[in-house]
Symmetry: C2
Subunit: 381 residues, 2 copies
């Protein structure tokens, strides 16, 4: 497998390099003694990871919250160590002098309450009531739950108002929940590659198909696999589906073409012979699967399905929607258009800036810098 194909496939997981001066950060932990979910269940000893950049002013109103995508986490910008190979996923737009300018703003980002990568609160954490991992007995959670915990974090840090709440993909769902749940606290909402104000049934089914290979993996074992063989094959298949949905034929043509995975192994001649794109995604997703919690993936899928913003009429934030032209997952022509129409009809200030390109949905993560000037201008409005 040529290394460049693997690198290209790994890049699909969106850890882009930055061209600016080094920004260092650390992963901190926020704890809550207990939290009651939208579904009415109480979770004790909540722990989530977070990071921040810049300084909160005395008024507590120069904050920006960054919400992450499905397979992302709180590491939005900078590096934990100077020699980390890759910075946080939105390092291109967060930092000194960048669109989310850490010289001016206090930029905060946290792990979602259930997180694919983090080993804090979630199905993989220990249920204080049993002393064993929750597994699928962890409460079903929603985007609103994620935002409520983020709100508690913000309160604990003295944040009074967010100049903006921004985030790509699943982050955009949290952005709109923020604007509706805490309208007095959110001056601007910047949903990037946005889904809109609810999960359409098409997306409900799309993410259901991502979950299916995990549940079908015999190692999943009803979610009880901690300390045993992991359902890594199912997770890898889930990631393949997610990555593919988040890309575009233009990206595939440029990166792989119709090359075979091995130059002497023609797919016409043997079932084991693959195309380059298949081999690269296979390797990249299996590398990634080991670091991902299968149950957490299922919880996030359900949270996406449940997404339906309550309180849209109460939104007071100005909104800058940033779709990506080639997005084949959250189609601009359908989802963004619908959200913009709803918001405009109720008198909300809405602007749209479309990211040009052929990288698909992931342009909202990897190419967010293309919206940099639009974001700068919007933050002044």
């Amino acid at each position: 497998m040529p290394i460049r194909f693997v690198a290209a496939a790994l890049a699909a997981f969106a850890f882009a390099g930055g061209a600016f001066a080094q920004l260092l950060t650390e992963r901190k932990i926020f704890t809550l003694p207990q939290y009651t979910t939208v579904g009415g269940k109480t979770i004790k000893d909540v722990r989530i990871g977070y990071e921040s950049h810049g300084r909160l002013n005395a008024a507590g109103d120069n904050a920006i919250y960054i919400a992450h995508f499905l397979t992302g986490n709180s590491h939005a910008a900078g590096r934990y160590k100077a020699d980390d190979k890759v910075p946080g996923y939105w390092d291109d737009v967060i930092g000194p002098g960048k669109p989310f300018d850490t010289d001016r703003y206090f930029v905060l980002s946290a792990d979602t309450l259930v997180n694919v990568n983090a080993k804090d609160t979630g199905p993989g954490s220990v249920d204080p009531a049993t002393g064993r991992p929750y597994g699928m007995s962890f409460p079903i959670v929603t985007m609103r739950d994620f935002v409520n915990v983020q709100k508690a974090l913000a309160d604990s840090l003295g944040v009074k108002k967010f100049a903006a709440v921004a985030g790509p993909s699943m982050g955009s769902l949290q952005v709109m929940e923020w604007a509706a749940a805490y309208p007095e606290m959110v001056a601007r909402a910047i949903p990037v590659v946005p889904l809109g104000l609810e999960a359409n049934p098409y997306i409900i089914q799309t993410v259901a198909t991502w979950a299916a290979p995990i549940v079908s993996d015999p190692n999943w074992n009803g979610g009880d696999y901690y300390g045993r063989a992991q359902p890594a094959v199912g997770v890898a298949e889930a990631l393949k589906l997610a990555v593919l949905s988040a890309r575009h034929p233009g990206w595939a043509d440029k990166t792989f073409g119709r090359k075979w995975a091995a130059a002497d192994r023609n797919p016409l001649q043997d079932w084991g012979n693959q195309y380059a794109i298949e081999g690269a995604l296979e390797m990249a997703t299996h590398m990634r699967a080991g670091a991902s919690d299968a149950n957490a993936f299922l919880y996030l899928v359900r949270a996406i399905q449940l997404y339906q913003v309550e309180g849209v009429a109460g939104i007071r934030a100005k909104v800058l929607a940033v779709p990506a032209k080639s997005d084949l997952l959250f189609f601009p022509d359908y989802y963004t258009r619908k959200m913009v129409a709803t918001l405009k009809a109720q008198g909300t200030h809405v602007e749209v800036f479309e990211i040009d390109g052929d990288g698909g949905h992931l342009d909202g993560i990897l190419d967010a810098a293309k919206a940099g000037e639009a974001i700068r201008a919007f933050l002044k409005k």
Copy 2:
């Protein structure tokens, strides 16, 4: 599960009703003593199903060939019995007085050499050399192989020239192969919801993800499941992925909305509770899975991956490309545009008629009548 949801999901498999006078047909069998594949393997005792409508004229040049989609078969129009509930998949456009007018043309359509539904030649048929089903030892085949066998069928019937070769989705791949493989025999090519002239790596990976759940199903057993438990769960998952790719959010909104599969079972409360679209697709695909051969599905997936037309420069047919505006599988803005550019650059006569709608890729099957007048006009050119 409300019946209308199931019906809507089943409609995704594209057997539309017709408004015209009853057309009756029968499934006939074409046999070839042997056929040597593009990959160099010889298959003995080839049998494929076919049907025809209308009469071939003395010159043998009033024929039209209709090529079917992935999960389709030779049953393109009319009914086998007067009380059949559904006619062939393109009954809206094939028949007396319809765009493919069976009063004027001899309309022929055949099963692909390997076919998901048919029980003739393919991995599920008996290898004369062993007396047992081939399974995955059946030769890997290509679109060109399908067309070569169709050519032998046409020769056997006295067809000298096709006024048109037409077909939707995977049928469009056969259409372009026909035009390139037998340029002197194809006056017009009508690829509907076309992929273009080769499978882009994005499609290569898309169909690979459809194959994955079959191979992961323990009942698949390396393809050796004949006379045993079938990999029906894997096939159902494969069909779910295929149907979803072939649809569009607009269709999903109109058909299902955010309704739950059962009105008293909120997906927020229990993992077993689903949305209506999930329940409907689950039921529809499991009903369908029993009639589909898992191995045949894998062979067609590989045939799609291998698709790359040789001899494009030799195409002499006039081409009418009929993309669907809302197609999220074979994107008009990428695939159709690319094909049209290539053909125009070499001086081929190319026209494009786009089917409007929000049904997705399946508009090319279910709503082909929208292109009816364009097809009529094109057949006179």
